[in-house]
């Protein structure tokens, strides 16, 4: 599985070619994450006409426009709320959310925890680059301690969120994390998320070379990716309990999974049962 090749996958079959060239900076990890998503969609044979991608605001939010599907670029922090309405109204669609660390954990944090709790079938990809890149490099809820951003000139003094621990604590029935350095593994994780019958939360550790990397003297994109790759702990070697804040080495792979009832199906089942009963 890990030596998977993309022999039968051509990313151009899933991109809107008229939108090229894309607007991502050189070295940005988001393009790798997008490719992994499209590869996963290809592997699963999902129908593009039945695929809906909802994204918020920020660099990650702009990715939906490149995907040849039904795409919705909505307001800052709200893609999970829009997607909830869309998925409840149209259970025949496969709804994927693309969001960033600021979009998902700061302005949209309330929607994330309730989406985890509700367990409606949605696949949420949170691209974590530790920074508000589009607005010029401000501190985000996942910025590591002591890092420099335009709004933490003293070095970040706030502890950062472990998004996966948060999603797990909020009851998400599928939680996973991967780095952009391991594309086939990332693709397999996204596939597992897409196939999960309930709410799936996938954190993708991306990198912002141009703004965050430059500000913190983190080197080139390959250097940033290698640093991330050396800091992770694949799930096979997981040995400690997660804490709400990120430990020094990050577990990756599938971090939580259960089969509790999917909300949309539960609602429709209850409505059908009620239909026969006197009102």
């Amino acid at each position: 599985m890990l030596i998977d090749t993309a022999a039968d996958f051509d990313v151009r079959d899933y991109l809107r070619k008229e939108m090229m060239p894309h607007f991502l900076c050189p070295g940005c990890g988001h393009g790798i994450a997008l490719r992994a998503l499209l590869w996963a969609i290809h592997d699963l044979g999902l129908d593009k006409d039945k695929l809906a991608v909802v994204s918020g605001i920020g660099c990650a939010g702009r990715l939906s426009a490149y995907i040849d599907a039904n795409t919705f670029h909505v307001t800052h922090g709200r893609p999970l709320a829009y997607a909830t309405g869309l998925a409840l109204a149209r259970p025949d669609l496969h709804v994927v959310v693309i969001t960033g660390d600021g979009d998902c954990l700061a302005i949209g944090g309330n929607h994330l925890i309730h989406a985890c709790r509700r367990n409606l079938k949605l696949t949420c990809l949170m691209l974590n680059n530790e920074v508000y890149g589009m607005t010029g490099g401000q501190v985000s809820p996942t910025t590591s301690e002591t890092r420099l951003t335009t709004t933490t000139p003293l070095g970040n003094q706030e502890p950062h969120f472990d998004a996966c621990a948060l999603a797990t604590a909020a009851g998400a029935s599928f939680v996973g994390r991967e780095v952009t350095h391991h594309v086939p593994k990332l693709k397999e994780l996204i596939k597992a998320g897409l196939e999960h019958p309930g709410f799936a939360f996938v954190e993708i550790l991306s990198d912002c070379t141009e703004i965050f990397g430059r500000k913190n003297d983190l080197g080139s994109s390959p250097e940033m990716m290698m640093r991330q790759s050396s800091a992770i702990r694949p799930s096979a070697y997981r040995d400690t309990v997660d804490t709400p804040f990120r430990p020094n080495t990050l577990p990756t792979g599938v971090l939580a999974k259960n089969d509790r009832p999917e909300y949309g199906a539960s609602y429709r089942r209850a409505a059908a049962a009620r239909a026969g009963a006197p009102r």
Binding site: F72, V74, T75, T84, A89, R90, I113, Y267, R279
Partner: protein, 387 residues
């Protein structure tokens, strides 16, 4: 037969129900099949009714985590092609505004009920007001068109809720149903004949994908929408977009798209405009009022006429876009205009603008009480007598 069946089958049964109940039944009759909301006084009864009845008609009700999420979910459902509504009151209406602007800009049909209570801020949750007239029009950032309807009775809440859905679909616009706490929780008899009314449907994309442009207004300025799953695979964004739906900052494309957006309601004023006049033809004094204040004004007109005084009433039912022409016609013979309203002068400001040099007086009550017929009649009689 219960009230839902009656609303759906149009058997013209008469029921004694509250304004909020009528709103829920009007929504069902109009084909609303999705509601997302968040509890807030004095609109919660709409959510409670629809939580019960939507599953009975294969619809979906969801109570979201906050007001912002409920507006977002409604737009999401409508993007999926399902008629959708939310209901709230002042503080929640403020929270929904950013996403209402998204619905206006991306042209997603939806209905937002705002039951007006005393403000500002938390204000008086159980007391009426009419102080959200301007927020309903201008509450979101940027320049955008919106339709706002102001029913004045329980029966009219029922029929205007149905009309709100029709206008939302026909004009691809958010529509606000704006009424005060008094009629929201007042009970009156209503003829539930909604199904007798042919409900409007959205203009859907048809024909080959290559020829389809998601924001091409065509002959009437209202673009056909692509239903997800129908093979068009379009992009919808809150960014300024060109006819192809993709973001643009090209000055010509921006101007073209926004000009169409701003003009599309003007081009459909025949559908949108609605107002009522009473004894205006010969009136020296015309009272202009909406909602519960218009109910009191109607009685005040009767009291004045009984005294032989030429007093009339002009009542906007569609508040925005404001029925300027109808107001000018109704006040053609008038010497003066009186605007009773439960705020500090929001409707009066509009009337002054429309009528230019006409003397306009106001009765402004913001104590959490409704304006009485006697309050209005006393002032109208003095104006009519020129004292």
């Amino acid at each position: 037969m219960n009230a839902v069946d009656t609303a759906l089958t149009g058997k013209n049964a008469v029921k004694l129900i509250s304004g909020n109940h009528a709103c829920a039944l009007g929504a069902l009759a109009a084909g609303c099949r999705f509601f997302a909301g968040y509890p807030i006084t004095p609109s919660s009864e709409i959510a409670e009714r629809l939580a019960r009845h939507l599953p009975e008609v294969d619809g979906v009700f969801v109570q979201m985590e906050d007001e912002i999420a409920s507006m977002a979910a409604v737009i999401g459902a409508s993007m999926g092609g399902v008629k959708a509504m939310t209901a709230t009151s002042g503080p929640g209406f403020s929270l929904k505004q950013e996403n209402i602007g998204y619905a206006a800009g991306a042209e997603i049909p939806c209905v937002i009920v705002n039951v007006m209570r005393g403000g500002p801020s938390t204000g008086m949750p159980t007391r009426p007001s009419q102080a959200d007239l301007m927020q309903a029009r201008w509450g979101s950032h940027g320049d955008y068109p919106i339709i706002v309807l102001t029913p004045a009775s329980v029966g009219e809440i029922y029929s205007e809720t149905i009309r709100a859905f029709d206008l939302a679909e026909q004009c691809r616009s958010p529509v606000v149903l704006l009424y005060d706490q008094v009629i929201a929780q007042l009970s009156e008899t209503v003829a539930l004949n909604g199904a007798a009314h042919a409900s409007a449907t959205r203009k859907w994309a048809s024909g080959p994908r290559a020829a389809y442009k998601p924001y091409d207004g065509g002959s009437d300025g209202i673009p056909a929408m692509a239903r997800p799953g129908a093979g068009y695979r379009t992009h919808t964004t809150g960014l300024t977009h060109s006819e192809d739906g993709f973001p643009t900052q090209n000055p010509e494309a921006v101007t073209r798209n926004l000009s169409r957006l701003f003009s599309k309601l003007e081009r459909h004023r025949d559908l949108i405009d609605s107002s009522e006049t009473l004894h205006c033809a010969d009136a020296d004094v015309v009272i202009v009022a909406i909602g519960i204040s218009a109910r009191a004004a109607r009685r005040a007109v009767e009291l004045c006429r009984a005294q032989g005084l030429r007093v009339g009433l002009f009542r906007p039912i569609t508040l925005w876009p404001f029925p300027e022409t109808a107001l000018r016609q109704a006040t053609a013979k008038a010497r003066t205009v009186l605007v009773p309203e439960m705020n500090t002068g929001q409707l009066r400001l509009v009337v002054e603008r429309v009528l230019g040099g006409m003397p306009v007086e106001g009765i402004h009550l913001f104590s959490g009480e409704a304006i009485t017929p006697v309050d209005i009649a006393t002032r109208a009689m003095a104006l009519a007598r020129g004292t």
